[in-house]
């Protein structure tokens, strides 16, 4: 807060912004998502973001912020602009990335600007942010945040999101970071803008600003009763202000617009089909592109013959290094041209195949080695990356003595869990529309990282960053699967040779095959419990699937928790919730076994070993709604419970299943998920996320698995890769635990992580069969008695 007086009170021209010296801003260049040397995993930086491993090849800036204030307002229109200067924490995600390459229409902005807002002379409020909308509903929740602090109705506000020419630099939209960071940033910038409005009114009326109050898009004089609209105050103004911090924000208890179930602000555009996703972008003279794919992962191009494709009228065929593709006036002609290309490939040997899915072990059998029916677990454990305990890709937490804890245990349980690769399968596949004009490349694409895609294009085409513009239309979902810019680079490569705009839309088969996957993995747990149910030891090893949510929230004196990075046989990367889903599945399944070993109710066992009050509260909320301990399962039915903490969100899920005694078919009958993420910004959006996350969790939990062999994906169609449908979904109840006293955390991911273990635990309660693989039930039925 010490910086406040140096900047907050100061009115700056835009040109002056670059001169601001900020105390407390982290000037260390932020190198993307580099790995913590300490082994501790900080918020928002997860080791399974493998697609970020390589450092970009560039490291430069393009000089300072040269845009004069006059030009700035010429572009934006007259009015009032407020710039928010990110402080150290937020600077790592938005704004202050050492190089500061956010910009406005090709001009550089000061490094630390993380968001800005403009009030025009019509009263229209335009907010600029690098975050993107892909169904998680932040266009609405961020609009609410601005409306709340600026004291205007949501309908006056529009958000410019993810346009690299118009918004400040931002690391990307992932890790459930928008609500804890950008929501806060926008509240701050809006709060300052409100103060500016009051200040301008005070000047206009020549009165003390203290007697003025802003409300409903107006400033009112409490003494005289007169009022003036923001639109009027913004007229003929070219007023700009930069702030680091500002006056206290409106506390959640006083929210009137934030905290409300505001419907999707542009919902009508979606029910009428008007919204243009990337595949819907049309440019004059645009061609349709197709890319030639290798027959298997790792296959190298030996030779290619383009002549038949090139002979087709209107077709442009490109061969550049390993890239082969075509562009044509129609998608059908592009398909035919691609089919006419003759290519020879060299396919590598020794590709592993995967585990083919679910497995069951009964309580008495040795669980460890039989948990996988394929060779994935063995492959991964044989391909652990070397590099020392503190090196990249390894994290280690250790306290006490696990050996002593295990030796002193009354009950000891060791088990191995296996995790399949799964696909994100967003309904909008990867797509891009690329256009070169006057040496500048403009690309529309669906991605979670507009600036990351821009960097990929800068690198691929050796361009200065102000010659590349990436725009992200609100996207047909991503689920962690669109961190990269393959389609953008491919479309741009084709457009370069075609000398015309090119649209490239990946087929479903391409999306299933060439997008990256949620990592598969193996998890080994050894644990011990004392006669009274106290955990005595907890040893947890995750091979390859990731380190998110790897820690245990339970009190254990002796613990060793390690993530082991492995060479993956498939291209892998982020997925909604990251490895928290796998790690919670293993941990909460194991906790359930330990409870039964200790002869305790699974919820009582968790309480016995849990001090975290917020987690205890969500367990209580879910259990209460579910009537855990009060209701009794019918014959052939079982109840299960699981929970955890991840990305600032606290979750507990209860499930009821029934198992048909004859067919052994499992049905999930009811799910209750309680979730607490601090002060709720939009209860309707939050319920939608909880619902959607649970539905998505059914897929990875019960039946989704990528099947692969010899570098080929065997089930790269919806007909073979089953995703949850209407008929898979039981009654799902979301319970919101609204903590207005705690800053809001994100909610797009964590509500997913309790479902699989809750169902697995319910199946165990019904049958005594423990399922230790994700997915648990590819066939829908238990295979063993």
């Amino acid at each position: 807060m010490s910086t406040k007086s140096t900047v907050d009170s100061r009115q700056s021209t835009v040109a002056e912004l670059r001169k601001l010296t900020l105390i407390g801003v982290n000037k260390t260049p932020h190198r993307g998502l580099e790995h913590p040397a300490s082994g501790k995993i900080p918020d928002g930086i997860e080791p399974e973001r493998y697609e970020f491993r390589e450092e970009p090849g560039w490291n430069f800036t393009l000089g300072g912020f040269g845009l004069a204030r006059r030009d700035f307002f010429k572009l934006m229109g007259c009015g009032v602009a407020v710039f928010l200067v990110a402080r150290s924490g937020a600077a790592q995600e938005s704004g202050g990335r050492g190089g500061g390459r956010g910009g406005f229409r090709g001009e550089e902005l000061p490094n630390e600007i993380s968001a800005w807002l403009h009030i025009g002379d019509t009263g229209a409020v335009t907010v600029y942010t690098g975050k993107v909308e892909m169904g998680q509903n932040i266009r609405t929740s961020l609009t609410q945040a601005v409306a709340e602090e600026l004291r205007v109705e949501t309908g006056r506000i529009s958000l410019i999101m993810g346009d690299t020419d118009l918004v400040p630099w931002d690391m990307g939209t992932f890790g459930s970071r928008t609500t804890p960071t950008m929501n806060l940033e926008l509240r701050r910038v809006a709060s300052v803008a409100r103060d500016v409005m009051v200040e301008l009114a005070a000047r206009t009326w020549k009165v003390d600003g203290k007697r003025l109050v802003a409300n409903d898009g107006q400033v009112r004089d409490r003494d005289s009763g007169r009022s003036i609209e923001y639109a009027k105050l913004a007229q003929d103004q070219t007023f700009s202000k930069a702030v680091v911090e500002n006056d206290p924000l409106t506390p959640p208890a006083d929210w009137r617009i934030a905290g409300q179930p505001v419907p999707k602000v542009d919902g009508r555009d979606f029910v009428t089909g008007r919204h243009r996703y990337t595949p819907d972008v049309v440019l004059p003279g645009m061609l349709h592109g197709k890319v030639l794919r290798a027959p298997s992962f790792g296959a190298g191009l030996v030779s290619v013959d383009l002549s038949a494709a090139q002979a087709m009228p209107g077709v442009v065929a490109v061969h550049d290094g390993s890239f082969v593709g075509v562009a044509a006036p129609s998608a059908e002609l592009a398909d035919r041209a691609l089919a006419a290309i003759k290519a020879k490939w060299n396919e590598p040997a020794n590709q592993p195949a995967n585990a083919s899915g679910g497995s069951e072990t009964s309580p008495g059998s040795a669980p460890a080695s039989s948990a996988s029916s394929g060779n994935l677990s063995q492959y991964l454990k044989a391909h652990v990356q070397q590099g020392g305990d503190e090196g990249y890709g390894r994290s280690s937490q250790e306290k006490g003595s696990v050996d002593e804890g295990l030796a002193s245990a009354a009950h000891r349980l060791d088990a191995t869990y296996s995790i399949a690769y799964i696909a994100h399968a967003p309904l909008e596949p990867r797509a891009a529309v690329a256009d070169w004009k006057d040496g500048k490349l403009t690309v529309h694409t669906g991605s979670q990282r507009p600036f990351g895609v821009r960097d990929e294009l800068v690198e691929a085409f050796h361009l200065p960053s102000n010659r590349v513009r990436v725009l992200i239309p609100d996207t047909g979902a991503a689920y962690g699967g669109k961190h990269t810019g393959e389609a953008a680079v491919e479309a741009a490569r084709l457009a370069r040779t075609a000398n015309a705009p090119v649209k490239l839309v990946w087929t479903r088969e391409e999306e299933f095959t060439w997008a990256y996957f949620r990592p598969g993995g193996a998890i080994e747990i050894k644990a011990g419990v004392a006669p009274d149910g106290t955990l005595t030891a907890w040893e947890f090893h995750n091979y390859n699937s990731g380190g998110a949510g790897i820690g245990t929230p339970y009190e254990v004196a002796n613990q060793r928790i390690q993530f082991h990075d492995c060479d993956s046989p498939l291209r892998q990367g982020s997925y909604r919730g990251l490895a928290a889903t796998a790690n919670h599945f293993a941990r909460e399944s194991h906790m359930d076994d330990l409870a039964h070993a200790a002869g305790m109710d699974p919820l009582a066992f968790r309480y016995k070993n849990l001090k975290d009050e917020r987690l205890r509260d969500v367990f209580a909320a879910a259990a209460d709604k579910f009537e855990w301990g009060r209701a009794k399962a019918a014959a052939g039915h079982g109840f299960g419970i699981a929970g955890g903490v991840e990305k600032g969100g606290y979750i507990a899920t209860c499930a009821e299943v029934s198992v048909d005694p004859t067919t052994r078919a499992v049905r999930v009958l009811r799910v209750v998920t309680a979730f607490e993420c601090g002060a709720v910004v939009n209860p309707d959006g939050l319920r939608n996320q909880i619902m959607g996350a649970n539905v998505m969790g059914f897929g990875g939990g019960l039946f989704e698995a990528i099947q692969f062999e010899k570098g080929r994906i065997l089930n790269n169609h919806f007909a073979q890769y089953r995703v949850p449908r209407f008929s898979d979904v039981p009654q799902i109840e979301g319970v919101l635990v609204n903590r207005k006293d705690i800053p809001s955390a994100g909610a797009g991911e964590t509500p997913l992580i309790g479902l699989a273990p809750a169902i697995g635990n319910a199946i165990f309660a019904a049958t005594g069969v423990r399922l230790r693989s994700l997915p648990m039930l590819p066939s829908g039925r238990l295979l063993s008695a």
Binding site: G135, P263, R268, V271, G273, L427, M696
Partner: protein
């Protein structure tokens, strides 16, 4: 390349088609009706659903040359098509989706709405189980199925546009 006349959203339109031109690409690329989406190209996801003579059909599997004189309705044609509604009024199913917030990314929404319109024509007063069966060919990867069921129920009950949610 053959010239072909088809009827879309109440008007006659001219296409230039090859035998492999799908109705989906003709609608999107030639007529600019981008509300109909590509999701899989294999009839598995329902994002490309349009009405052909009032019945839900997969436009990705329908050759453009095969539709003949049939009336095709896309999401763009639904808005003004509500019986007795003036131009720009949402169809009750569209309104019900808005009322229930029955979407997240909404890429599936056009197909869902048209599938629901077709389904409700055949079964105007469905049970929840019938809605699930009737809509099961359409994928919402965001998982808003319970809200979509609620929206279809709301449209069926004539409650579209009225306050209050069916589904929490």
């Amino acid at each position: 390349m053959n010239r072909l006349k088809i009827r879309v959203n109440g008007a006659e339109r001219t296409l230039h088609v090859e035998p492999d031109t799908t109705l989906l690409s003709a609608l999107r690329d030639q007529l600019g009706l981008i509300g109909t989406k590509y999701g899989c190209g294999e009839g598995q996801c329902g994002a490309c659903t349009v009405l052909i003579d009032g019945k839900a059909r997969r436009s990705c599997l329908t050759p453009a040359a095969s539709v003949g004189a049939a009336e095709i309705t896309t999401i763009e044609g639904l808005e003004s098509k509500g019986e007795g509604d003036a131009n720009g009024r949402l169809h009750p199913v569209q309104q019900a989706f808005l009322d229930e917030g029955a979407f997240q990314c909404a890429y599936c929404t056009s197909g869902m709405i048209l599938a629901a319109v077709s389904f409700l024509k055949e079964n105007p007063h469905p049970s929840n189980a019938e809605i699930v069966r009737g809509m099961n060919g359409n994928i919402c990867r965001c998982g808003t199925y319970p809200r979509i069921v609620a929206a279809v129920r709301r449209a069926a009950s004539g409650e579209a546009g009225k306050a209050g949610k069916v589904q929490g």
